[in-house]
């Protein structure tokens, strides 16, 4: 009993961990299923079929391509615009600071369904047909705030004395930015961009409002499949994404710890 009491937090913690991870295990396991019917919900038979024929289902790989394309363009655009805003907020005094902060905060506090539908009313009112471009516009919009917040934290944590030291050591403003400021803020920008990419890649609700039948992203494809029948290939893609991202994070961690902890 005493043992249980002492380790209660650990036991509950691990159980919650299991709850968080269980669906991922299911996704991985069921990528090797050979389902009996159209839906891949019941285990039937072990098979590599889906893995050897990933693009075998019509439309899926096209939607994947579109999602990647939108994700990359949206995250890079948001990264550039967001980094500029983050520097303005972290480095300068200006009027309307409170208003700016509010405008950055609001998109993060607004339900997706409201953002998606309001954008749709704008596009309808202006007579703009929905499709790839409107999806991109929407994605950049909701990614921006997240990039700004991530990069701003990094800019704010930057010791101003480092830049002063650079200027003390004969670097002018541009050189200081290129040699000191940017390299030090870069991890924040990278984190913000990755976050933006994953948000864009995974978004369904906002996308669904601003897409057209000819611009089906991967989440929209999965949504459709959930009604018509889920091909195993969806799980293959899910597994590849999961393991790939995990590998990137682990490699990053290893590199980081080898480079020793950064205090600043």
């Amino acid at each position: 009993m005493a043992w249980l009491r002492r380790h209660l937090v650990i036991i509950v913690g691990l159980l919650v961990m299991l709850y968080i991870l269980a669906p991922n295990f299911v996704v991985i396991a069921f990528s090797f299923n050979n389902p009996a019917g159209r839906f891949n919900y019941q285990w039937n038979q072990f098979s590599f079929d889906a893995w050897t024929n990933v693009c075998g289902v019509p439309g899926m790989c096209d939607s994947l391509g579109l999602s990647l394309q939108i994700g990359i363009i949206a995250s890079l655009t948001a990264a550039v615009l967001g980094t500029m805003v983050a520097f303005a907020l972290g480095r300068y005094r200006f009027r309307a600071r409170a208003g700016t902060n509010l405008l950055i905060f609001l998109p993060m506090a607004t339900p997706e369904v409201v953002m998606g539908s309001s954008l749709l009313t704008l596009f309808i009112a202006m007579g703009i047909p929905t499709g790839r471009t409107t999806i991109l516009i929407a994605h950049i919009m909701f990614c921006l705030s997240f990039v700004i917040v991530t990069v701003k934290a990094r800019v704010a944590s930057l010791d101003p004395r480092l830049e002063q030291a650079a200027s003390d050591l004969y670097a002018n403003e541009v050189q200081t930015f290129l040699k000191v400021t940017f390299p030090l803020v870069a991890p924040g920008i990278a984190a913000g961009t990755l976050l933006a990419f994953s948000l864009s890649f995974d978004d369904f609700i906002i996308t669904n409002f601003n897409a057209s039948p000819s611009s089906v992203t991967f989440p929209m494809y999965v949504w459709g499949a959930a009604q018509r029948g889920t091909p195993v290939q969806i799980n293959v893609i899910g597994t590849i994404m999961f393991l790939g991202a995990l590998a990137i994070v682990v490699i990053g961690q290893v590199l980081n710890s080898r480079r020793s902890r950064q205090i600043v």
Partner: protein, 378 residues
């Protein structure tokens, strides 16, 4: 003289004011080339602001800063041949030690930057960590890297902003000696900002004491300690006993004083001009304990004497510190070497004595407690 002043750092009527207060108030200072100069004062006294103005990180509101006959007031930090060892060092965390040290050299496109940087690392005995990152080094090592990064550029003036503040006491002592050695070796002008009076006295040739944005006194450590010119300097550098006294008259260059009814003397040359009400100052270690109050021994000839009662005895190791209450209730601090002589007993009545030349006199219009209790920490 002319060639000597070629590289002097000269501040003329330098003022830095912000909206609500003046950080640096009309400072005039000449720091001779090749000297080890300390700017000493409590935090908020304007010493760091002064340093930052010399570095070019802050613009003075008025006044000029020049090195030799070159006015550098309006040049930018990166255009000045002045380098800084920052508080907490400000080493670039993304660059290794060698790249940190070589930063200034490469910025100025010095050809053999690598050899020069290694040479600087040799000076601070850190060649073995050239390829490590700053965060992998201890505080003391980082401090030396910061020094090497500044020294390697052979600046006209090297500024040190509380460079030892983050180190523990033992390491600080070690680095004080190390810094002095390096300064003598490279022969650059060092301007050292600190709030630690001991550090300033240990290292500097000349100390400028600052308070409230103003210069209080500039001089070599000995003069500053023995003959402070303000109660602030008297209390901030070491401890002082200040007794209020009235000047009765001057006979043969000796001023006759009345200290709460006791007659004392002080050389007239030490009197502040035109004052009759003064603070008579005496350092604790200059006071001797003669024995019981009744023991009016003949060896007190020519000394200033006072009787009092011992209210506290603290054993310090090399010395013993006493608190002695005078008849009018003022407590004097007295420090006696533990040279084997018997120690005074708590509660006993004693007589205190000192040589008049060992005392100093300050105008009584100043606050007797100015600068007390802000020396050590912060």
């Amino acid at each position: 003289m002319a060639d000597q002043s070629a590289g002097d750092l000269i501040l003329r009527q330098v003022t830095k004011s912000y909206e609500s207060f003046t950080a640096v108030d009309n400072i005039d200072l000449v720091i001779p080339r090749g000297s080890f100069f300390a700017l000493l004062g409590p935090s908020g006294c304007g010493k760091t602001t002064t340093l930052r103005m010399v570095a070019g990180l802050e613009q003075p509101t008025a006044g000029t800063i020049s090195i030799g006959d070159r006015d550098i007031t309006s040049t930018k930090a990166y255009q000045r041949n002045v380098n800084t060892v920052f508080q907490n060092y400000a080493l670039f965390p993304h660059l290794d030690i060698l790249d940190n040290v070589a930063f200034g050299l490469r910025q100025r496109k010095v050809k053999d930057w690598k050899a020069k940087a290694m040479e600087a690392l040799e000076l601070v005995e850190l060649t073995q960590v050239a390829r490590k990152k700053p965060t992998q080094l201890s505080g003391g090592m980082q401090q030396r890297v910061a020094l090497a990064r500044a020294v390697v550029n052979r600046p006209d003036v090297l500024l040190l902003d509380e460079p030892l503040g983050a180190l523990d006491l033992k390491l600080r002592r070690q680095m004080q000696i190390e810094l002095k050695r390096i300064q003598q070796e490279v022969g650059l002008t060092f301007v050292h900002v600190t709030h630690d009076q001991e550090e300033a006295m240990t290292m500097a040739d000349t100390i400028a004491v600052m308070n409230g944005g103003r210069l209080q006194q500039v001089g070599d450590p000995g003069t500053l300690y023995e003959k402070p010119e303000s109660t602030f300097a008297a209390n901030f550098l070491g401890q002082s006993n200040l007794l209020s006294a009235t000047v009765k008259g001057v006979v043969d260059d000796i001023a006759q004083l009345n200290v709460h009814g006791t007659a004392m003397t002080v050389p007239a040359s030490l009197l502040p001009e035109g004052s009759t009400e003064i603070w008579l100052g005496i350092r604790p270690e200059k006071v001797r304990i003669l024995g019981g109050a009744d023991d009016a021994g003949g060896d007190s000839e020519g000394l200033n004497t006072l009787s009092g009662k011992v209210t506290d005895v603290s054993f310090l190791g090399v010395a013993t510190q006493y608190l002695v209450a005078t008849t009018w209730g003022r407590e004097l601090t007295v420090v006696q070497q533990n040279d084997g002589a018997p120690r005074a007993v708590l509660g006993s009545n004693v007589r205190l004595a000192w040589l008049p030349v060992n005392s100093f006199a300050l105008d009584a219009s100043q606050d007797a407690d100015a600068g007390a209790d802000i020396g050590e920490d912060a």
